[in-house]
């Protein structure tokens, strides 16, 4: 097949999609990068000259030393990400095995998928109903004669809400790996003298890694960037990077600064993703979907 | 026009003299380091059962795929039914391929699979129906027309693949190790069926295999391939009884290979002593003598006569129909087969471990290999 026919075959399939991606994914991303070096102008729009002011402001680099305001916010977002990931792994990892070991696998999977497909706003605001002053939790505590707790709005509510929202995101890819486990490897390990724990660690755990890592990425990344959950369950008291970005593009109208914040968040995420891609290759990426 | 020899008890075949496939100087490489075909010249005659035999990597599958049109040669010329195939895509060639993994369309039933090629030719519905019916009968799967491939056994899938190719009445049928995935008995049964089918239809079959026994059983002619070249081409008996190289001698069946130097026009000096051969040699040149284990004669007494030596029975392998003896002839290893015929006569004896016996290598059975 000569070069010309190859191109005429290739273009109709790849052409439209590539154009779309370039226009609506690449260009906007580059715009964010570019805008982060601009400044807000008096008319509410953006103007040059190019400057690092937004980044300086974000990292708090000033004449009096480092102002940690936004760094703290970034730190809190990362903390939320890590804690959520850890919690979902601790909760979800045994659960994946619970599904695999059960005779009612399909039913259980359905039960996990249902919340996963339920609109995530519904799943988040439900916790308002549970944690509010006259909410379900306090009603329950009241029944046992205990004092009410004020968990809404609070960081606790945000954490619980985030863990709750992203738990299925870990279970599902992890289960895909758990389902495919070759248990004969465990038998071989036992045969060769490994006890229950070591057998599991050496023969079973490595087989769950692809799904586990995919799940971790699918939890960590959205958790770090969330603003809805902190907005609804933290009601203004819980500010994360996502909230900063949303505010700058909303009420504050400082799109330049918002772009810088967005770019920092994106850089953090893409760094993690690049590491994963190096490790897992193309097949690994497909597992993410 | 060569015929298969009567006295060997095989069918008499006279494959038509007209050449239907011709390859000249075909070369192909897949990357700078791997040469798949290194200059192949051969001709296949209409109506013959032609096998490409060789170990993995010898290029036989590449050659088949070039004939089918899935690869183009880098150099050389390929002619099918007189037409140069350069640039001709697979769907316009008068050949059909039976795939090694069957490649049946999973979303179609047996009938539609077989009908596919006919429908591509836009044949009218009732003709398609008739031809598919004929093909189903031909390979003996008439009742399976509505089944899906995943409901079939390996042997059944094989027949469907065959029917799907045959129904198009190609000039040449290409078969890529079609029996490889089947168990022993089924393979043997299908080998006979394929042979009979080929003879009945009079089609040209080009058959790729690495199983030398299969090639010997089924083919009219065999091309033994090695590292991208045709090592030897000819009738099965010719290849077996008169291998032209050490490779062919060892690839087709087992062979005793005895190195030596020619002492005179008829004698070779070897580790087993001086052996007489039935060919004229060039004095001083080095040769390898090949003799098949079943041609080696064993006995307890040793009248003096050429091509005899003593050996000790080192090991005996019992395969049911045969006894295979591993012999130590003064440090040189020989293999000899005798039939377990239970005949109590000299020449049909059975021997024991460590027995010292006489080994006779008859002159007419020593093949001279010029290597």
């Amino acid at each position: 097949m000569n070069k010309r026919t190859r191109w005429t075959r290739l273009l109709p399939t790849l052409g439209p999609g590539t154009v779309w991606l370039l226009v609506f994914t690449l260009v906007p991303t580059l715009l964010i990068f570019y805008t982060s070096f601009l400044q807000r102008d008096p008319h509410g729009w953006l103007s040059g000259p190019l400057t690092l002011e937004n980044y300086r402001r974000f990292f708090g680099i000033g004449p009096d030393g480092i102002d940690p305001l936004y760094l703290n916010i970034l730190g809190r977002s990362l903390l939320l990400g890590f804690v959520t990931t850890l919690a979902t792994v601790l909760i979800g990892y045994p659960f994946a095995f619970f599904i695999a070991a059960s005779p009612r696998k399909n039913l259980l999977l359905l039960l996990v998928v249902l919340p996963f497909w339920t609109n995530f706003l519904i799943r988040v605001y439900a916790w308002i109903v549970i944690f509010q002053r006259k909410g379900v939790l306090n009603a329950l505590l009241g029944q046992f004669g205990m004092d009410p707790v004020l968990l809404y709005p609070s960081w606790t509510a945000v954490y619980v809400g985030t863990i709750y929202t992203y738990l299925p995101f870990l279970i599902l890819p992890l289960y895909a790996s758990v389902e495919k486990i070759d248990w004969t490897l465990l038998e071989a390990a036992h045969d060769l003298g490994a006890g229950k724990l070591r057998g599991f660690w050496h023969a079973v755990f490595p087989q769950t890694l692809p799904g586990l890592i995919a799940g971790i990425l699918l939890v960590f990344i959205p958790a770090v960037g969330t603003f809805v959950i902190s907005d609804l369950l933290g009601a203004g008291k819980a500010i994360l990077v996502g909230n900063v970005i949303q505010q700058q593009f909303g009420a504050s109208r400082d799109w330049a600064f918002g772009s810088a914040a967005a770019f920092v968040l994106m850089a953090v995420v893409l760094a993690g993703l690049w590491l994963y891609a190096r490790w897992a290759g193309e097949r690994g990426m497909e597992e993410l979907v | 026009m060569e015929q298969r020899k009567h006295f060997k008890g095989k069918r008499t075949r006279t494959p038509g003299g007209e050449t239907i496939v011709r390859l000249s100087g075909v070369r192909k490489r897949f990357d700078p380091l791997t040469v798949a075909l290194d200059g192949v010249d051969l001709e296949v005659r209409a109506g013959e059962f032609f096998s490409l035999l060789g170990p993995s990597g010898c290029g036989k599958t590449t050659l088949l795929r070039i004939l089918a049109g899935f690869e183009e040669p880098d150099e050389g010329r390929v002619e099918i039914a007189g037409i140069d195939t350069q640039g001709v895509p697979p769907y316009r060639r008068p050949v059909n391929l039976v795939f090694q993994n069957y490649a049946l369309f999973p979303h179609m039933n047996v009938f539609d699979n077989i009908a596919f090629g006919l429908r591509m030719k836009r044949l009218p519905g009732d003709e398609v129906h008739a031809r598919v019916g004929w093909a189903l009968e031909l390979v003996d799967i008439a009742g399976l027309a509505l089944r899906r491939p995943h409901e079939l056994s390996g042997g059944q899938k094989q027949r469907v693949a065959l029917a799907r190719a045959l129904v198009n009445e190609p000039e040449v049928l290409l078969l890529d190790e079609p029996l490889g995935a089947l168990d022993y008995k089924l393979r043997k049964q299908l080998q006979v069926e394929l042979m009979n089918l080929q003879e009945e239809l009079g089609l040209t079959f080009i058959y790729v295999t690495h199983d030398q026994e299969e090639a010997l059983v089924m083919s009219d002619r065999i091309a033994v391939m090695r590292e991208g070249r045709v090592e030897q081409l000819g009738l099965p008996e010719a290849l077996y009884e008169r291998p032209a190289s050490r490779f062919v001698a060892q690839f087709l069946g087992t062979s005793n290979l005895i190195p030596g130097t020619a002492l005179s026009e008829r004698e070779v000096e070897t580790p087993l002593g001086t052996l007489r051969v039935a060919e004229t040699l060039e004095t001083g040149r080095r040769y390898t003598l090949s003799i098949r284990p079943e041609k080696v004669r064993l006995s307890r007494n040793a009248p003096g006569s050429p091509n005899r030596t003593w050996a000790r029975v080192d090991d005996i392998i019992y395969t049911g129909a045969e006894n295979q003896y591993l012999l130590d002839a003064g440090g040189f290893e020989l293999v000899a087969y005798t039939l377990n015929s239970d005949i109590q006569e000299p020449g049909y004896e059975e021997f024991d471990y460590d027995e010292r016996i006489a080994v006779h290598l008859p002159e007419e059975n020593l093949v001279v290999i010029h290597e």
Partner: protein, 260 residues
């Protein structure tokens, strides 16, 4: 085996955890009382109120329009892209793949604001693409396309290449091979991808939040702004209906898969 016992206990607790919030909402949607969680009696009045509040109807409509159009566009574009990726090797393949993964893994916020920024620039330069349903659709396609491509691509990768060769050998040229052999075999994958895209669109909040203009409110946007003002049983009723639809859809998909 105690491991199994613990596992089962853990499993049940996790399931309770997963369904507690959902159960709360469903139950409260039938509660007579407007505030608080004390049970005051069973009623359907909130559902009646919901159905009578015609101002919600456009939101439902918007969600469906956006989902349908964007799913159609992204499925077509994504399937073509997957075909191209599976079939050809070309120098910018790696770059294209990376670009494809960006919408999947990037935080929603970043994608949302980047689109907002992009549309704003276009508005300034060409006076086009003002925020409205169109921009929402454009935004949705931009992340759906990635999912569709990846799902279909993985389906294609699982196809036996010798099937295509067999079809060619039997006389089928390029397009005919695609329609008769390749397409039927990837059709389930395309359907699954389309379903995924549709769901993602219906469910999306963040991207819609940033790309929607007045008159382009979808259901999730309505729920968000409503909940910020205060949680009402009417919202519970709406949520329960949405949960019901999701459940029915899931069961339908399960049935479809089981039949195959």
């Amino acid at each position: 085996m105690t491991t199994r016992r613990w596992l089962t206990l853990h499993g049940i607790l996790v399931l309770l955890f997963l369904y507690l919030p959902i159960a709360v909402i469903v139950v409260l949607s039938f509660n007579e009382s407007k505030f608080g969680v004390a049970w005051h009696g069973f009623t359907l009045k909130w559902y009646r109120q919901l159905l009578e509040h015609t101002r919600i109807h456009p939101y439902v409509w918007n969600s469906l329009i956006v989902a349908s159009v964007s799913t159609f566009l992204s499925t077509v574009l994504g399937t073509l892209l997957a075909l191209g990726l599976a079939r050809y090797r070309f120098p910018w393949r790696g770059g294209l793949l990376f670009l494809l993964y960006v919408p999947v893994v990037i935080p929603d916020v970043v994608m949302g604001v980047s689109l907002l920024l992009f549309f704003a620039w276009v508005q300034r330069a060409f006076d086009a693409l003002h925020l409205g349903l169109t921009t929402v659709i454009l935004g949705h396609v931009s992340f759906q396309i990635a999912y569709v491509t990846l799902v279909v691509k993985s389906r294609l990768a699982g196809l036996d290449p010798s099937l295509d060769e067999a079809a060619a050998d039997l006389g089928a040229a390029g397009w005919e091979r695609f329609w008769k052999v390749t397409f039927p075999l990837i059709a389930p994958g395309i359907a699954a991808a389309a379903l995924l895209a549709f769901t993602l669109s219906l469910d999306d909040f963040v991207i819609t939040f940033f790309t929607a203009g007045p008159g382009a409110t979808t259901l999730p946007i309505y729920i968000f702004s409503s909940v910020k003002r205060g949680v009402t049983p009417e919202i519970h009723a709406l949520s329960t209906l949405m949960i019901l639809v999701t459940t029915l859809a899931l069961i339908a998909v399960q049935r479809m898969q089981a039949r195959r």
